[in-house]
């Protein structure tokens, strides 16, 4: 099913399909996630959430709640807001190139730990803590909150006189980004074809299987937080600031993590649990219900865009202009950065010469939008990749050929090669060149989309993106690898072990990785932006090489040989070509221990970037009577630098593409238009695709090693999810002559597109 195009380097552990180091525990139920941890004297917390979409919290009467047996405390803005100012949950030292000169200076739209205003249905207004979950749930329902409702804002359309969500945010504008270069007017005037559409993308939820939660405990002057965060060091930094503690008095340590996909890149339950642990002196657990996870953690930004493209006769996009409005929801979070990424992804890869794009992110009284795998990429790809196919259709040219043409001409633009994107496009076309035969009453089509995507964020000057690792060499020739990388289920722990094992010529069992515990592991910016393998893997490689060189220079003394002539293989250090001159590694290390020699390695990954690439080709079958669309085949070709563990790489691609397929066909967080309450707060209403709802994802890996990455490896996690909706839309266009430009592409929307196509068979431009 899968081909790995090997780049031919001789490795022993790297490139092997080794089982994940944590899999055996996971299949036997031994793995502990937050809700599985056991503590003596544990208290259970429950949030009281607003049912008003927008209101001043006039009073919180906790007397009835406090009378429930087992209730220990109720906190609200009436008793803790002085202690806890702006919740800086969005402070993100890894990304402050985009904003925030003063890292912790509050900005309009920052969330707070109870500021006396509720800004969406579900916004926490108080928290109850009790001896048992039953008591906490009962008491949370008995906290009497008196609201003074304000008019809610549910629309991202700027309306004069709209009530403001945040003081200082003019007209509810959370953030904006604009890109303008070239001469759009001239390019549109000279165009061979012009195509414009209104694009609407949905609010997709990460919907990781583990409900959000954490446990906080204060012991011996140390606040410990067990949380499935994706960025333990940044979480520690923010929590320490929030509670006025030095960094060495806060420890953040994820237990096993039941999925993240960006959700864990913002604080959620942690500040409440820490506040309560400090207040009560006892360990406190706060775990969200699934509905709370839907309402109380961040989603992908919904967008509404009017964008038009001007094409030359060969189908090149010569100009792109329009407006994009993103719904931030009630708080700022990652919005400013995602707006910039979205805008860049629209035009940079093809080096579109004339661009006028205005992105605005607006506050609404709805649940918060934030980081989600792809981070603005899926919305951008849905627009630009579909416009390319619409233009080609109008011109009668081939859209994939137009892509190859543009990519070839953009080679080297902004210092980035496009050869890997072109390679993916060509392999994708070869694997799925044309649709198969359609069943009666249906039509089939194929559609392609492509992207390049950065690994980490360090390819931008001045950005802060750091991974540090250390490798301890034990005297029995085993390694302890310490890395701040966070394994959300991605397999990064296994991959890091493979990297260290390769350097020392050891097998995987000789390496143990301790990942992401701020008490034990060095700084790491976190698991986001496809960076863990590229950056943390880079740090582990350097640390392992550092340790190895220390071992070899000691061996050179002992063996009276030149360091350059030594090699480590099968647990033995020997002189190349003179096998008699050798020592067992463990004997050498034991002797070194007695002689006080230090073999510990340190690695700090250099601040560099790289771009991986992906192309996806979808084949759909559309029922022309109902609009029901079946994705028959879905091919994903991804260029990953080096597949250190091809099974893990395939799993990342398959999972990402399947999430992308859900984005294309089914998923949307919907709120009631009158009340603002979520209509899709459960897995019954928010439809995740089951195994039977999609085809088996066909993956193909291309390796074009990047010198910046460990053994050439680049990030893998995100390109999969970015392209699927665009590829499916292009396939529907190919099948029936039109496709929905709103997500999800339900049967109803496909049918509407089909009928429109029947009345006007050619795409036309917006007047």
């Amino acid at each position: 099913m899968t081909t790995v195009h090997q780049s031919g380097a001789p490795f022993q552990v790297v490139g092997e399909r080794l089982p994940k180091v944590d899999a055996a525990d996971k299949v036997t139920g031994r793995t502990e996630y937050v809700d599985d941890l056991r503590f003596r004297g544990l208290l259970v917390a429950r949030l009281v959430r607003s049912w008003e979409p927008h209101a001043r919290v006039a009073a919180v009467d906790a007397s009835a709640a406090l009378a429930v047996p087992g209730v220990v405390a109720v906190l609200s803005h009436e008793n803790i807001r002085k202690i806890f100012p702006a919740l800086a949950a969005t402070y993100d030292p890894a990304c402050h190139d985009f904003e925030r000169v003063e890292p912790f200076a509050p900005e309009p739209g920052d969330a707070s730990l109870f500021d006396g205003v509720a800004r969406y249905v579900g916004d926490p207004v108080a928290v109850v803590v009790a001896e048992t979950e039953e008591a906490a749930v009962e008491a949370a329902g008995m906290v009497d909150v008196r609201y003074e409702p304000r008019p809610p804002v549910f629309s991202t359309e700027p309306e004069p006189g709209s009530p403001l969500l945040h003081e200082g945010a003019t007209g509810n504008l959370a953030s904006s980004a604009s890109i303008s270069h070239g001469d759009c007017d001239a390019a549109f005037a000279a165009a061979a074809a012009v195509v414009g559409r209104r694009f609407e993308t949905s609010k997709q939820k990460q919907a990781q299987m583990e409900p959000t939660g954490c446990v906080a405990e204060v012991r011996g002057g140390l606040v410990t937080v067990w949380s499935p965060t994706q960025s333990p060091h940044r979480a520690r930094h923010t929590l320490a600031h929030l509670f006025g503690l030095p960094l060495n008095r806060v420890r953040v340590t994820p237990p096993a993590i039941g999925g993240g996909f960006g959700k864990g890149d913002a604080l959620t339950a942690e500040p409440y649990a820490v506040a309560l642990a400090l207040f009560t002196g006892r360990p406190v657990k706060l775990v969200y219900s699934r509905t709370e996870d839907f309402v109380g953690t961040e989603s992908r930004h919904p967008t509404a865009s009017d964008v038009e493209a001007a094409f030359d006769a060969d189908g090149r996009v010569m100009a792109l202009r329009g407006t994009i409005i993103m719904d931030a929801g009630a708080y700022l979070s990652h919005s400013p950065r995602i707006a910039i990424v979205l805008a860049k992804q629209l035009h940079e890869m093809y080096a579109i010469p004339n661009v006028d794009i205005e992105v605005s992110v607006r506050f609404t009284n709805l649940p918060v939008s934030g980081a989600f795998r792809g981070y603005g990429g899926p919305q951008a790809a849905f627009i630009i990749e579909h416009l390319i196919d619409l233009g080609a259709r109008q011109l009668g040219t081939d859209p994939a050929t137009a892509r190859e043409l543009m990519l070839g001409e953009a080679e080297g633009h902004l210092g980035v090669s496009r050869t890997n994107v072109i390679a993916c496009v060509q392999r994708g076309r070869a694997k799925l060149p044309a649709p198969g035969p359609a069943a009666p009453g249906t039509r089939r089509g194929v559609g392609l989309a492509c992207v390049n995507w950065k690994s980490g964020i360090a390819d931008k000057p001045g950005s802060f993106d750091r991974s540090v690792a250390s490798v301890r060499v034990n005297e029995d020739a085993t390694l302890d690898v310490l890395s701040g990388a966070c394994d959300l289920g991605t397999g990064i722990t296994t991959t890091l072990a493979q990297i260290a094992a390769e350097v020392f010529g050891l097998n995987l069992a000789a390496v143990r990785v301790t990942a992401a515990d701020t008490e034990a592991t060095p700084f790491d910016s976190g698991a986001f932006s496809s960076r863990s393998l590229f950056r943390a893997g880079g740090a582990v490689l350097i640390a392992a090489e550092d340790a190895r060189s220390k071992v070899l220079s000691y061996a050179a003394e002992v063996l009276e040989a030149d360091v350059a002539d030594l090699e480590i293989s099968d647990g033995t250090v020997s002189v190349v070509g003179a096998p008699a001159m050798s020592t067992r590694l463990k004997d050498l290390l034991h002797r070194g221990l007695m002689e006080s020699r230090d073999f510990n390695g340190f690695g700090d990954a250099p601040s560099v970037g790289a771009r991986s690439a992906c192309a996806q080709v979808a084949e759909v079958e559309v029922d022309t009577a109902t609009g029901q669309t079946t994705v028959v085949r879905l091919v994903a070709v991804q260029e990953v630098g080096r597949a250190i563990n091809p099974t893990i790489v395939e799993g990342q691609i398959e999972g990402g593409v399947y999430q992308g397929l859900g984005y294309a066909l089914a998923e949307d967080v919907v709120a009631d238009k009158e009340s603002g309450a979520l209509l899709t707060g459960t897995f019954m209403d928010y439809r995740l695709l089951t195994a039977a709802d999609g085809p088996r994802i066909e993956t193909e890996i291309i390796e074009m090693p990047a010198e910046e990455g460990p053994f050439g490896a680049k990030g893998v996690a995100e390109p999969g999810i970015i392209l699927t909706a665009a590829a499916v839309a292009n396939a529907i266009l190919d099948a029936v002559g039109a496709a929905p430009t709103a997500l999800p592409m339900t049967a109803e929307r496909v049918l509407a597109a089909l009928r429109q196509a029947a009345s006007e068979p050619r795409a036309t431009s917006i007047p």
Binding site: V27, T28, G29, M209, G259, G489, T490, G655, L688, A691
Partner: protein
């Protein structure tokens, strides 16, 4: 109100005091410390809390603990025998069917039951149907299906 029930869990007879409104998943996790059974939705949709109940797959969040009096329940902790992984567990490990692992216990229970009906000549979609009651957000299901097919192909049983 509480009552005492007597049931078989992973082969051993257990007597447990349970509240009248206590769910089977909570009894397993909290009273018996069998936290391998996961609760991801608590409303019977996702399958992460699946257990074998008198041989059939049930959502343990939809069963009251007191209903399980005299029943025989198998959780993910009961799939390995004498410290050896079951063929299905082994296949999940080898094929990369496990990512975050939160759906894995329920998926293994559903797949274990499916082995009774599965046939080596099933196509992808037939295998997919067999686990369509269990949600996984990480894998796209491909490697989970590979794992089950591998066991079926080598004649493995529950």
């Amino acid at each position: 109100m509480t009552q005492t029930i007597r049931l078989r869990v992973n082969g051993a007879v257990r007597e447990v005091g349970v509240a009248d409104d206590e769910l089977l998943c909570d009894m397993l996790r909290q009273r018996l410390d069998l936290t391998g059974t996961k609760v991801a939705c608590r409303e019977g949709v996702c399958g992460s809390c699946d257990v074998l109940y008198d041989g059939a797959v049930v959502r343990s969040c939809l069963v009251l603990a007191c209903q399980a009096d005299a029943a025989s329940v198998v959780t993910v902790e009961g799939l390995a025998e004498d410290g050896c992984l079951s063929p299905l567990q082994q296949a999940f490990v080898e094929t990369g069917a496990v990512q975050c692992g939160f759906c894995t216990p329920g998926m293994l229970i559903a797949a274990t039951a499916a082995l009774c009906e599965a046939s080596a000549d099933w196509d992808d979609h037939e295998f997919a149907e067999a686990i369509a009651g269990n949600l996984c957000r990480c894998t796209g299901y491909a490697k989970i299906i590979d794992a089950i097919r591998q066991v079926v192909a080598t004649g493995g049983t529950r």
